[in-house]
């Protein structure tokens, strides 16, 4: 199954987004990575790499929140032994779409990435 990694500057935000995504994509393999590991707001590449490798069997789609999360996810992917891509998508909506797409029997990294990035065009009002 294609894995999903949710990266946020906040540990609780990442965990919360995973919680919501699991409501709609119950079987999806989702890892949540947030904060710097020592209680600060931010991101570091080490824990992102570990999360990617933990769900890497059939590739990974990474959802990120703000600026440095993108850079640290890219650095983590360069160092990870896995086929992983960063989705250009809003983190919550993208994670929901990706979770649903990942549970399809024919899911690939490409199809899950595409589903995540479809969330860019979703209008809220």
């Amino acid at each position: 199954m294609v894995g999903i990694v949710v990266v946020s500057h906040s540990e609780r935000a990442a965990a919360g987004i995973r919680e919501i995504a699991r409501e709609v994509g119950g079987d999806a393999r989702i890892e949540a990575v947030g904060g710097t590991g020592d209680g600060r707001i931010g991101t570091t590449p080490g824990p992102i790499r570990e999360a990617i490798e933990a769900v890497a069997d059939d590739g990974v789609v990474v959802l990120v929140d703000l600026g440095s999360a993108v850079m640290n996810a890219e650095l983590a992917i360069e160092e990870a032994a896995a086929d992983a891509v960063v989705a250009d998508a809003p983190v919550l909506e993208g994670a929901l779409n990706a979770a649903v797409a990942a549970t399809a029997p024919s899911a690939t990294v490409e199809s899950v990435l595409e589903a995540a990035e479809d969330a860019r065009d979703v209008s809220k009002v």
Partner: protein
Amino acid sequence: MDQETQTEAVRTAVEAIADRLADEKDHLTDLDSAIGDADHGANMDRGFRTALERVEETDGDPADLVKAAGVALVSEVGGASGPLYGGSLMKASQELEDGITADTTVAFAERYLETVEERGKASVGDKTMVDALTPAVHTYRKSIEVDDREPIDALGKAVDAARRGVEFTTPIRAKKGRASYLGWRSVGHQDPGATSTLYLLEELLDVATEYVDGEVAIDAAADVEPDELPDAEDAPADGGE
């Protein structure tokens, strides 16, 4: 310089940078509290303290030490400065595998700039570290390859170019990073990343001068053409919000 002296010079440079960032911690945080998330000083201080520990316990050539410093920054700094400073040192360290010479330092500087630009997707005028780094690297290369200056002299000119680059970040509007969310409110504030980049270069110049025993006179303020910088007053001409 033999390899042992070069290795010692790298350790001395990391120590000088760590000391400087400890001194400037509050100043960098003040700059970052105006347009960012007020953690740049603390992050850089913590990152370079760890980098210093790593280079002190690492054996090897200058490239190994610079790489070790980069790895430490990536894991400790957090935020965007971790991958930008650390990731770029890791990549650029490959250019020092044959030691520290005029040619390898030019290659190092260019690789570092290239990696920062790729990772941060920023260019000159975005109000980021690139505004200090780009004129510094271009000035360094031109001084060595075109003007045939000694590396220490070229570094002096690069520092001066970086200083002008830092000044240039004050009047312009941020287009990258957390400061970009402020839009026009970012105008009038000096960029913290460009400032810490200048501190790194100033300390490198100090240590390099120490290692060539002051053989070359440095007049950093002399005849530098900051040709990489657009005019500050033209920069925010892309319309408002």
